[in-house]
């Protein structure tokens, strides 16, 4: 029984990270109907920027752990957001009115470009985050091993997602984003600056992806330029699972995916866990093709 809860906890914290990355995918899809394949690489860049700050600038020595954490989050999120906006300008805006396939190819190209840029700048080897930034202490509840950092990551993810949801649902800008997601031209007709809204989405989504990258670096310590591929794939799956274009859906999809992965490795074979996870995805999609919380599609009035 305690094994069950331990694996559940493992799954939840893993799911929190998938959920953060999935949010970026889902927001961009909602607004542009484009799967941003470069998102996984923005996640990687986030962890590398955190690494540079910690190692090349010796951030932890200057400000101490808590200050370092705050500065890291701020700088990583801002810089990856900026990079995301540049990416949109360079790779996606010129193709706004082209067939969808061109934008997809452009996204793939951007992904390859970013991944290799990271490799050329930082080298092909693994890099390791300095230890000792985050506390190593863990809670021991009923014999369960609960590292504080993972709890922190999970709660931080949930809070960020809640804030995002409130922003989208309750503010005017959020309403503008929702409007653009429904129909570009109609949104333009009511006076919304579509370009600005898309740029905003590409600031928020990548910022979250970069934050997830930073968390992964701090949690697991080891980063490499190819790590965006696997995380991106799983997060994309999570977004589809929850209903692409739907923010609570991405949240839910990410957490469910993490838990399924953890449970299937615990109770079935570890070697088959990815197969099981994708099999569950297929099952859910056959029963509910739009994902668990449903895809946001325009309503015909």
């Amino acid at each position: 029984m305690e094994n069950f809860f331990q694996q559940l906890l493992n799954g939840l914290s893993l799911g929190g990270i998938y959920a953060l990355i999935a949010l970026g995918y889902t927001m961009v899809y909602g607004v542009l109907k484009l799967i941003n394949f470069a998102h996984g690489d923005l996640f990687t860049i986030g962890s590398y920027i955190g690494f540079t700050l910690l190692v090349s600038f010796g951030l932890a020595d200057i400000t101490g752990p808590l200050g370092a954490l705050a500065v890291l989050c701020a700088v990583v999120m801002l810089s990856v957001a900026f990079l995301g906006a540049c990416l949109e300008r360079a790779a996606y805006r010129p193709l706004r009115h082209s067939p969808r396939l061109s934008a997809v190819v452009s996204a793939l190209g951007a992904s390859i470009f970013l991944q290799n840029a990271v490799m050329l700048i930082y080298g092909a080897k693994f890099h390791v985050y300095p230890q000792g930034i985050l506390t190593k202490s863990s809670l021991s509840l009923f014999g369960l091993y609960l590292p504080l950092v993972k709890v922190f990551v999970l709660f931080a993810s949930l809070i960020v997602m809640a804030l995002l949801y409130v922003f989208i649902q309750k503010t005017l800008t959020g309403a503008a984003i929702r409007a653009v997601a429904i129909d570009h031209r109609a949104a333009q007709l009511v006076g919304i600056n579509v370009d600005r809204v898309v740029t905003l989405v590409f600031l928020i989504g990548p910022a979250l992806g970069g934050l997830a990258g930073l968390m992964v670096g701090l949690l697991y310590g080891q980063i490499t330029f190819t790590m965006g591929w696997l995380y991106g794939l799983k997060a994309f799956t999570a977004a589809i699972l929850g209903g692409i274009g739907n923010i609570p859906g991405a949240m839910l999809g990410g957490i469910i995916l993490g838990v399924i992965e953890s449970m299937s490795s615990a109770y079935l074979s570890v070697a088959w866990k990815d197969a099981v996870t994708f099999f569950v995805l297929i099952l859910i999609l056959t029963v509910r093709p739009t994902g668990i919380l449903g895809e946001r599609v325009a309503e015909k009035v």
């Binding site: 694996q7 493992n10 080897k125 693994f126 590292p147 080891q222 790590m227 490795s265 570890v270």
Partner: protein, 378 residues
Amino acid sequence: MKRALFFVYIAILSVFLLFQTSYSADTIKIGLMAPMTGKWASEGQEMKQVLDILVEDVNSKGGVNGAKIELITEDDGGDPRTAALAAQKLVTQKVVAVIGTYGSSVTEASQGIFNEAKVIQIANGSTAIRLTEKKLPYFFRTCPRDDEQAKVAVQTIKKLGVKNIAILHDNTTYAKGLAEEAKTLIEKEGGAIKVVFFDALTPGEQDYTAILTKLKSANPDMVFFTGYYPEAGLLLKQKKEMKWDVPFMGGDATNNPDLVKIAGKEAAAGFYFLSAPLPKDLPGGEAKTLLNAFNQKYGHLPNSIYAVLAGDGFRVIVKAIESTKSTDPDKLANYLHKELKDFPGFTGTIAFDEKGDRVGEVYRVYKVDENGQFVLQP
């Protein structure tokens, strides 16, 4: 206007293509296929560094049979698909022989291509038994084989008094082969040692807490992980964070100083692994000359024994070309199979059997101490 531009592009492209053809007819081309990028980049880059030193040395002494050696490097990215492309590229550049590569599944992807093109291939970091069971006449390897490694693994397991062993691999050709060999040998021991866990993890991921939790509940006395060093480093780190202190043992693919970097010194201390002797523990004068030359050029000793094994592969093929005074693949293969005896390599004396395997016993046991140093066990 657009048409004109198009033709200008074609013209520029053709000029670039022209420069690709090799300029000298009097060089002997030797290929190096190595993971220059990807998760095993540190291995590939050192392989090239060692070969650069050796090529320079040979060429400064006048080359082989009067011709200079030209080293052509292709990156296989540590991936079988990229390796197939890299192999094709080397074949079209008409190399006489190829040294490489690291990673049995990657080597396997290139074997057929080289064999069909009659290019001698000398692998340096591919220990899966399968590779030499295919009766490929042009394939050799300077690294040892996994059946020897499994034997030494089981011997060590017995010596350490382990009663319940967990075996973990990562589904690659090498890791799975080694794990299954070890399991078969343990089962032959007749019940003295029990295999309580046998499964695979997915390489390339970062969170292995789920599988560690599962391993923990199987209650082994020791875990034998037959995968590669990136995953081994993460396993050690995460097991330490879980405060689980069962000893781990690794196969020779966990042998890389990045292991300590990834896991951290604390977590890596007490980790056992099997390996051919490390560069710093190599006996013999040949090895010392190479180590000094390497140190002089690059400022540190080579970290990887596989890079040194690549060096051995290079010297062996140079000797073959010199002795047979030709670059004919059949003559070279015949020489390597039959006439090369007791060649003084960096890693000991080298000879090949009729399957292309290296003759002799090579594997030793190492342990990581608290400072992250790899210490040879008696």
